[in-house]
């Protein structure tokens, strides 16, 4: 009597969890923008045996954005998941993997991400700041002011903007702009940059030093700007991040540096 087909793999089975982990590590490894994502749920999984110790797996994953920038060296398991009230971003990925002798390799993946609906956020937190568009004028002005402020006070190398990670604007109570952006160290000191900022270029890949900044601009009830930047130090391999940011994001003064 032919052997009965193996029971379908459950989405919480250890093998499904291992496949999901391999898939999300691949997705984060391939991404050059934004933040790291983590698995919130394995929505579906299908296994197509290819022979002894060889199978193709189709995994449907529900992901959530973490607070770790994609360039951060922090291990994914140490990355905090952004809560709903912080305007979570969710991802959906369909990943095709092959498992040969217990080793997973990703053959293809297709993902898309989107911010949670404003209505959902309002349900859990009526006054929480919502995500603003990347090319919002207030956002661009806050990023420019924050980077200028940091560069004017630092003894570190002069930092250039790589991309804006996210931005939120709170209109009540007060008027507050919150921005997060990725930066890269240049071959200039802050002093040298004052003399000739055009000469300040990102360090070459074998010396690259990326970092991340968070800034809060309070406009009302009183003016105030707080900036906090953290450089990661040199990491290998440094992904080839384009100098400017996301396609479609325009700056207050296109083509002009933020200094």
């Amino acid at each position: 009597v032919p052997a009965a087909p193996p029971p379908p793999l459950g989405c919480d089975d250890p093998e499904a969890e291992a496949a999901a982990e391999a898939a999300v590590n691949y997705i984060n490894g391939q991404s050059h923008h934004g933040y790291k994502f983590t698995v919130n749920r394995v929505k579906d999984i299908r296994v197509v045996p290819q022979g002894p110790n060889n199978a193709i797996m189709f995994v449907d994953l529900e992901l959530l954005e973490t607070k770790c920038p994609i360039l951060s060296p922090t291990p994914l398991e140490n990355c905090t998941v952004r809560t709903l009230a912080e305007h979570a971003v969710e991802g959906d990925c369909d990943v095709k993997l092959q498992k040969v002798d217990g080793v997973f390799s990703v053959i293809a993946s297709k993902c898309h991400s989107h911010e949670d609906s404003r209505e959902d956020i309002r349900k859990v937190c009526p006054d929480c700041p919502l995500l603003a568009k990347m090319n919002n004028t207030e956002v661009l002005e806050t990023v420019s002011a924050a980077l200028n402020d940091y560069n004017s006070k630092t003894t570190d190398p002069y930092l250039r903007l790589l991309e804006i990670g996210r931005a939120q604007i709170q209109y009540h109570p007060g008027h507050i702009v919150i921005v997060e952006f990725a930066v890269g160290a240049t071959n200039c000191s802050a002093e040298e940059a004052k003399a000739n900022v055009e000469a300040c270029q990102l360090l070459p890949e074998d010396q690259s030093n990326f970092g991340f900044c968070k800034a809060v601009m309070v406009k009302r009830p009183s003016q105030g700007l707080q900036v906090d930047c953290q450089l990661y130090g040199h990491q290998v391999p440094a992904p080839d991040i384009p100098l400017l940011s996301w396609p479609g994001v325009t700056y207050a003064h296109p083509g002009q540096d933020t200094s």
Binding site: G10, C11, A16, T38, R41, I45, D116, D120
Partner: protein, 39 residues
């Protein structure tokens, strides 16, 4: 000699009638558990 063991008779109304060979359905394999929060 074989003696019949006295076994308390289960009250008929406690027993749920089940068809012969009834096998409880396995838990649905997917979707899996939610690890952080439902979105």
């Amino acid at each position: 000699s074989v003696t019949k063991k006295a076994v308390a008779k289960v009250a008929q109304h406690d027993k749920v009638p089940r068809p012969v060979g009834f096998v409880p359905p396995p838990p649905p394999p997917c979707p899996g558990k939610i690890r952080h929060f439902d979105i």
